[in-house]
């Protein structure tokens, strides 16, 4: 009888030890799953990639003179500035646009009679970020400026919806001059220097996020 009890106890102990080891292995496997591919880290990585893409887009477009003109001629706008002035000269800067997958163009959100947005920036964004490369990213473009009283204003150029909490924003400063605008006195961005050819200083804000 005694020997039978010992055998049963040893069996229970062996099973207990095995369960402990299996539990430890399970904990170890779960713990090591925190790697650079986990969701929290990947989110940071994607945000960094988006930020670099956005900064590259704005920088390269601001560094390139429109239609291959000499970059150092101060009267020749960059592709980025041309995008802003085209938007202003077309609708006064009062129209918002959203990308339409059905029509493959930027459609107006305020006045449907306005013509679709067709600027170097909008075309570059639609090509590089979301619509044609299927990166799954979305973006908004806003313009920030101040009025002559120094108040900061913000208006939308491209609005594809509210960004997620994990969005990133990059920006670039652009200087507008009176000669860049077809109707400097009636556009959404006011003239802060009436005595000079300076019109205003604006900040192009590109917000990107992964949908």
């Amino acid at each position: 009888m005694v020997k039978r009890y010992e055998g049963q106890i040893q069996t229970v102990e062996a099973i207990t030890a095995a369960l402990i080891l299996i539990s430890v292995l399970a904990i170890v496997v779960e713990a090591t799953s925190v790697t650079p591919l986990t969701s929290s880290f990947t989110n940071q990585h994607v945000k960094l990639e988006l930020q670099n893409i956005g900064a590259d887009i704005l920088t390269s477009m601001d560094e390139t003179a429109y239609a291959g003109a000499p970059t150092t001629n101060p009267n020749v706008p960059s592709y980025l500035k041309k995008s802003v002035t085209d938007w202003i000269n077309c609708t006064g800067g009062y129209e918002w646009y959203a990308w339409s997958n059905n029509s493959s163009k930027y459609v107006p959100l305020i006045n449907s009679a306005d013509i679709p947005l067709d600027t170097p920036l909008s075309n570059t964004l639609s090509f590089l970020i979301s619509n044609q490369s299927n990166t799954g990213a979305a973006y908004n473009v806003e313009v920030r400026y101040s009025n002559i009283q120094g108040q900061i204003m913000n208006t939308k150029m491209i609005w594809n919806g509210d960004p997620s909490e994990n969005s990133v924003t990059v920006s670039r400063v652009i200087v507008l001059h009176d000669q860049d605008l077809a109707a400097p006195d009636s556009c959404v961005i006011p003239d802060i220097s009436p005595n000079t050819t300076l019109h205003n200083v604006i900040e192009i804000r590109l917000t990107m996020w992964v949908m």
């Binding site: 040893q10 430890v24 239609a67 150092t72 120094g150 900061i152 400063v173 000669q179 802060i192």
Partner: protein, 385 residues
């Protein structure tokens, strides 16, 4: 007892082994995680923003010097004020101190402005010395008049348009006069080649010689150091052309020409059908064929949708109910009659057309009276209703 202690030892060993493995695992995992953690500094955009601000400021100083020289300081003051409005919400303050607006030779060949641009952030600041000058302008490998060996002489070139706008119909033109002097004011020799060209941002612009009317890459000055050219624009869209003249590496001011498309042709919203000729053909048998030639406004494409032809003196045999600009002829076949004189009345109803310039439709009605004999048409008259 011995067997019971052996089981307890095995349990304790298992616990110790488990704790050891967990500890080592957590330590390794912590090392792996820490070394691969996204560094917050990677997301820092402050340097990118600083360089952007510096570059925008340098470009603006260049622009203000080129286009707003008399109000340079006010221009830059307003610029910095507007810039501060934007950057202040990011915790940055910028300052621009203009140190020189002049021509001197150091450190660049021709320095136009020298300034100190400072950016103040949270507990840090950075300053940039900004120079703008003519060496920013791209220089093509073209020879200027080189008076003997030595370095290329410096010129002062002014380019003045007679008017500041042109109709972009490739016909209207603006006279541009480039005056070339040496920097010390002395005149340059006749025949000095001046390269005048518009920027490539506007296609359709053309520079031609005022005398020959032909385009060339360079134009020679006269004995006064002056050369005149015309600028024509065929772009047919609104915009501005920026033109500059160059001698060697010396570049003039930029002349801005505002280009406006030609006014659209106003459509005449009344169809006009005019009599332009006629003939009467004595065909074989019992028929005449009367051809009435009409002309229409060249801007329109007119269709007469209803054509009623009646006559009390002659029997109409085969009216032609259709008329367009391309077939501007009405053929009317009539039977021979005993009377040699006849009168035919035509009712041109629902004359419709579309203006070819704006596609606006219009319509009107008219009557036409044809009088003649078997050998000739005496008169044709058209009255619009």
């Amino acid at each position: 007892m011995f067997n019971d202690e052996s089981g307890q030892l095995m349990l304790i060993s298992a616990f110790l082994l488990a704790i050891t493995v967990v500890t080592i695992t957590l330590m390794l995992n912590n090392i792996i995680y820490a070394t691969n953690m996204a560094y917050v500094g990677f997301m820092d955009q402050s340097w990118y923003d600083n360089l952007c601000l510096k570059q925008a400021t340098a470009a603006e100083a260049n622009y203000a010097y080129t286009n707003d020289r008399e109000k340079y300081q006010e221009h830059m003051d307003d610029y910095v004020k507007a810039l501060n409005n934007i950057t202040s919400i990011k915790g940055r303050y910028v300052e621009y101190k203009n140190e020189a607006v002049t021509d001197h030779t150091s450190p660049l060949p021709v320095t136009e402005t020298k300034s100190l641009f400072s950016i103040y952030g949270k507990g840090s600041s950075i300053s940039f010395e900004i120079y703008t000058g003519k060496n920013n302008v791209p220089v093509a490998p073209t020879p200027g008049p080189a008076p003997g060996p030595g370095p290329e002489p410096s010129y002062k070139i002014t380019l003045a348009p007679l008017v500041s706008s042109v109709v972009s119909d490739n016909t209207d033109k603006v006279l541009l006069t480039a005056t070339v002097r040496y920097v010390n004011g002395s005149p340059v020799p006749a025949g000095t080649l001046v390269y005048i060209s518009p920027d490539a941002n506007r296609t359709g612009g053309n520079i031609i010689d005022t005398v020959s009317g032909t385009s060339s890459s360079a134009y020679a000055t006269d004995s006064s150091g002056v050369v005149s050219v015309y600028y024509l624009d065929s772009n047919n869209t609104p915009g501005s052309a920026y033109i500059y003249a160059r001698v060697g590496s010396n570049v003039s001011n930029t002349a801005r020409i505002d280009c406006t498309p030609p006014p659209s042709i106003v459509c005449k919203h009344n169809p006009t059908v005019n009599f332009s000729g006629s003939s009467i053909i004595n065909t074989n048998g019992n028929h005449y064929e009367i051809k009435v030639k009409l002309s229409v406004d060249p801007l329109t494409n007119v269709t007469i949708n209803r054509l009623n032809i009646t006559s009390s003196s002659i029997e109409i045999d085969k009216p032609d109910p259709y008329f367009t600009q391309t077939t501007s002829e009405i053929n009317i076949a009539v039977k021979k009659a005993s009377s040699t004189e006849f009168t035919i009345e035509l009712e041109l109803a629902d004359i419709k057309g579309y203006c070819t310039t704006d596609n606006v439709p219009y319509s009107s009605n008219a009557t036409m009276v044809i009088q003649g004999t078997e050998s000739s048409l005496n008169s044709v008259s058209i009255t619009y209703i």
